[in-house]
């Protein structure tokens, strides 16, 4: 039909309409098969953990499991806090103040995801060049605020969302 080359025909419309409906239908069908791999409601329901912190003495830490990952809860001594705050930000690979990594008025409590930001190993406590944590996998050194100081890890250890339910209980998540 060379004389009607540019004209849109009924058939063009039907083609476009059919393919559109088909594509939407296919997408709607594929989505459940992708979404089934996401964490389901029963996994999300376990997304908070409450921890009793009344037995932790200054200078000691405990590790709890939250969402299948270890969380370090460290009750820091005044010396350690002072040391963490004395560091100038220029020295840091991922500059962040110690004050920003703890809750206001709860300076002694460091609550931190115990996962090295390099490739996900669990760092060892009270080890390394900065008296904080040391990751045995690839040699990342963290300070008493959990900030990366030396080694291949790109950023500081992550602070999860948490709150003090009362003076003796922390709710993570």
């Amino acid at each position: 039909m060379p004389e009607k080359k540019e004209k849109t025909t009924r058939r063009d419309f039907l083609y476009t309409a059919s393919f559109t409906v088909g594509a939407v239908g296919l997408g709607a069908t594929i989505w459940p098969f992708i979404d089934q791999m996401n964490p389901d409601k029963s996994v999300q329901a376990l997304a908070t953990t409450e921890v009793d912190i009344s037995n932790i003495k200054p200078g000691k830490s405990i590790t709890v499991l939250w969402r299948g990952k270890p969380v370090f809860l460290k009750r820091r001594t005044q010396d350690e806090i002072a040391e963490a705050r004395a560091v100038s930000l220029e020295e840091l690979k991922d500059p962040q103040k110690d004050e920003d990594r703890v809750k206001d008025g709860k300076d002694e409590w460091l609550v931190m995801l115990g996962v090295c930001t390099h490739l996900g190993c669990v760092p060892l406590a009270d080890k390394g060049d900065y008296k904080g944590w040391f990751c045995p996998c690839h040699g990342s050194h963290y300070d008493v605020s959990g900030r990366i100081r030396k080694g291949p890890a790109p950023v500081n250890m992550e602070i999860p969302k948490y709150e003090f339910v009362d003076n003796n209980t922390i709710k993570i998540g």
Partner: protein, 419 residues
């Protein structure tokens, strides 16, 4: 294979095709000459491919969430139904998909019986098809065991006990199948493994089934040999692809009807009770698609006899191409056989109904009549009718009756509507 030599246009395509002729294969599948008179009963091959792929995809997903352990299987299925994102949908597609798969395969098999598609030169296609059907039944049975409900457990117990009917070694074989002294955790574990394996065996056989089909080409409603390619054929794409797609969409509407509006209507509510080795359900029945064979099993008052007869009912299909002595393929031109065909359809439906009823009184009597007729059809009716029947004259080509409008046309059309 079509005879023309395919050459890719691009240099890269040619380079690749010389090393692995995938493009030649694609070209063959696209241009594959198909009889132009294929009716909608010929769309079930495509529908069955869709069913197989659907079962494999949904099955792989279910295996991501299912736990094959006697203590955890039932709860893991409930977990899929309640917690997993869209788990209910995927499981209902899988469980109803099995029923849809069998619905389509029965239509496909009876299509073949009506139009004589199993006859020379298509015996190998037929035999591979029956092997696929056998594997489908094995896969369906083992899949039904996996939710570890009451029907799962007792279905597994009954079916595995069939093998105990074998003289001398029966008991040892049954114990070997169980991996225990009853259906137990080892049984569940191996059934899961095999249930995952079988669909891929089926997939391999489907490739052979289609390959074997593409050697002589499709049979057709008139059942005569045709020249390929010729004015009697159309290329597979787009003519058959679009027709198959349309039929598939119609099929998916029925499929979706079950999945979304009656997902449990084909199942048995007892399977939502966790397996209990101490209590057998009052009324134990297999899934609907196995009922005719279940009826044949129960029709014989002897344990070994029942088992032999049930397996014979399936294996007799393997020698069907040699039991049918008629040279004419399509029932359209076989006035006597056509009537026996419909009696067989009714007989199988009757056996299916009887399989769901208690094996006593009038039901048992009818089951026995149905069983005897089933074997009579294959062992007596088919060979004898083939010799005695006076078939209607065959057209010269499939275009011929359409062009000349001979007497056979209205005849053929009338019958196509009936089935």
């Amino acid at each position: 294979m079509s005879e023309h030599e395919y050459q890719p246009k691009s240099k890269v395509g040619k380079w690749f095709n010389d090393r692995l002729p995938l493009l030649s294969l694609a070209s063959h599948l696209t241009d594959y000459p198909t009889p132009k008179n294929l009716n909608y009963w010929w769309t079930f091959g495509g529908i069955l491919t869709f069913c197989l792929v659907t079962q494999i995809i949904t099955g792989i997903v279910l295996a991501m969430h299912y736990v094959a352990h006697a203590d955890l299987a039932f709860s893991s299925v409930e977990h899929i139904m309640r917690d997993v994102n869209y788990g209910w949908l995927i499981r209902y597609i899988h469980s109803n998909g099995a029923s849809m798969f069998f619905l389509a395969v029965y239509i496909h098999i009876f299509r073949s019986l009506f139009y004589g598609s199993y006859k020379s030169p298509r015996e190998v296609i037929w035999i591979i098809g029956i092997l696929i059907y056998l594997l489908m039944m094995a896969a369906a049975f083992m899949g039904y065991v996996l939710p570890w409900g009451q029907m799962s457990f007792w279905g597994a117990t009954v079916i595995t006990n069939l093998f105990s009917a074998i003289p001398l070694v029966g008991e040892s074989i049954t114990t070997w199948l169980w991996g225990a002294y009853s259906v137990d955790n080892p049984t569940l574990n191996r059934f899961f493994s095999l249930h995952y394996l079988i669909p891929f065996l089926i997939l391999g056989l489907v490739v052979l089934h289609i390959w074997a089909l593409h050697v002589p080409g499709n049979n057709n409603p008139v059942g005569i040999d045709i020249k390929k390619p010729s004015k009697d054929t159309v290329p597979f794409h787009p003519y058959i692809t679009i027709k198959d797609l349309f039929a598939l969409l119609m099929f998916m509407i029925i499929f979706s009807g079950f999945v979304f509006f009656a997902p449990n209507v084909l199942g048995h509510s007892d399977n939502y009770i966790p397996a209990n080795p101490m209590v057998t359900p009052a009324h134990i029945v297999p899934e609907w698609y196995l009922l005719p064979f279940y009826a044949i099993l129960r029709s014989v008052p002897d344990k070994l006899g029942g088992v032999i007869l049930m397996f014979s009912a399936i294996f007799i299909l393997l020698i069907l191409p040699w039991l049918d002595t008629s040279k004419v393929r399509s029932s359209v031109f076989r006035p006597i056989y056509r009537q026996f065909f419909w009696i067989l359809v009714i007989d199988v439906l009757l056996l299916g109904y009887m399989g769901a009823m208690p094996a006593e009184g009038i039901y048992l009597l009818l089951t026995r009549v149905g069983t005897i007729y089933y074997f009579l059809h294959f062992l007596v009716v088919l060979p004898v009718v083939g010799y005695l029947e006076k078939t209607d004259p065959l057209p010269v080509s499939i275009s011929d009756p359409i062009m000349t409008g001979g007497a056979n046309v209205s005849f053929a059309k009338r019958n196509d509507k009936n089935i």
